[in-house]
Symmetry: C2
Subunit: 236 residues, 2 copies
DNA sequence: CCGACAGTTTGCGATAGCGCAAAACGGGAC
DNA sequence: GTCCCGTTTTGCGCTATCGCAAACTGTCGG
């Protein structure tokens, strides 16, 4: 098993407050793997045999209803963990994880978790922290879905993506992984048609530049304004 | 400070896997308090000075937007913790907690958390578990809001409340704390008007019996059917 | 260089649910 | 017993957004 370079991950919140030796010991239990673009890392409902830390690339976590509708739970950025079903006491993955770009991950067997936590209690504390943060974000999302209209929700979603995974260009901020209208719709509780209409509108106002699975915020501030107005007039 | 009877709380998931001595030591750090119906336990945005365990009563956690709209994050049932801002690394409460019935809580100072976690690591593990479960529930709620219509969402919400805090009556299952149309609207992302219309409809079909801040599910199974149909005809 | 296809755009009804307004109701306080 | 106030009910028009359908376009494979 290839040795993982500790220096690459030592600064991650997950490992906060750990000695190099502890970190080393934890990493020794992991293996790494590469998932090509558009491949599934795990499927909703499957046995949660592993948990993951994303090193490179981007991963989409999506939840599917019995009737086949999907929502995007979140996009995982490098340095974040995912597939932590066991931490919450679930035997099966509650969502599907797909690599949206060629991605590299560290993989631990779920079975190692109890031992690791016992040996390194701060692992549980750190994980609690991240899960708690996600819970808050979740609540914020519910609040938005309950109180804002679609255009504002899309604006917020894009701003969050830009903050999380934005690449600074001179023309604006580009979301640096492939994302479709459909994906955005599934993040905001609407349809790809509506998202398309909204982006078209923004494009003609010079707020964004968007193409096939690619979005550049040309005027982030303008979008912030859109996101924050509570209930105003329509678009041009 | 009144001594808390350990036997009352020993079985709670929060304290799973703890020795009586550990439990005792943890409880020694808590004080208890009583909040009358409709009083605030803490306000959104306030310094998170304490965290809580509900012993008796019911508490509503609600989040407010800058513009004043509210959503109900959850209803806390006896035995559950709330106000765990520190566990997720937040200095301020992200929501407001209101006692919807006369309630009794245990209160720990937030400052005690790091010490307790260090001394009793399973506290972190157990909390991680509950926070993780809440995260999942949150995702389920987002999924519902994205894919279902209002009537189904209300059906699901009531079924959940009934499961969590339902009192079995011969006429059906009563949600055993005061809850208004407005509250249900804020749980499901709709308006009190729409909730009222839906409940009126159900009442005339004999599915529920509802009054002022009081709801009885007379035909839980009928409501399950409503909740599960993916997209069908209207009501009578 | 060309075809095929996935992703996108756009038009055009249809409608679920909102928002406002007003009336009805029920329970408690005195 | 009566008054008052918070809650609930209901009517009615409005519109944001969906849903379907069709046309369009950029990309990739060959």
């Amino acid at each position: 098993m290839a040795k993982v370079d500790t220096s690459l991950v030592a600064h991650l919140p997950l490992f906060a407050g750990m000695t190099p030796e502890a970190l080393d010991e934890i990493l020794r239990e992991a293996r790494s793997a590469r998932y090509p673009k558009n491949s599934a890392i795990f499927e909703q409902g499957a046995d949660a045999q592993s948990f993951f830390l994303l090193l490179h690339g981007h991963v989409r976590a999506a939840k599917t209803t019995p009737t086949g509708e999907q929502i995007v739970v979140r996009y995982v950025a490098p340095g974040e963990t995912f597939g932590l079903a066991m931490a919450i006491g679930a035997a099966r993955y509650p969502a599907t994880a797909i690599a949206v770009d060629d991605s590299v991950v560290l993989i631990w067997p779920t079975s190692a978790w109890p031992r690791l936590v016992e040996r390194f209690p701060s692992l549980a504390a750190n994980t609690l922290q991240t899960v708690g943060t996600r819970l808050q974000e979740s609540h914020t999302r519910i609040l938005e879905m309950s109180t804002q209209q679609v255009e504002q929700r899309v604006a917020h979603a894009l701003l969050r993506l830009a903050k999380q995974s934005g690449k600074k260009l001179d023309r604006g901020i580009e979301i640096d992984f492939p994302i479709s209208r459909q994906d955005i719709a599934q993040m905001t509780g609407t349809t790809l048609h509506t998202v398309s209409r909204i982006l078209s509108g923004w494009e003609s106002q010079g707020l964004v530049e968007s193409g096939r699975q690619r979005i550049i915020l040309r005027d982030p501030h303008g979008i912030v304004v859109l996101a924050e107005r509570s209930a105003a007039s329509g678009s041009a």
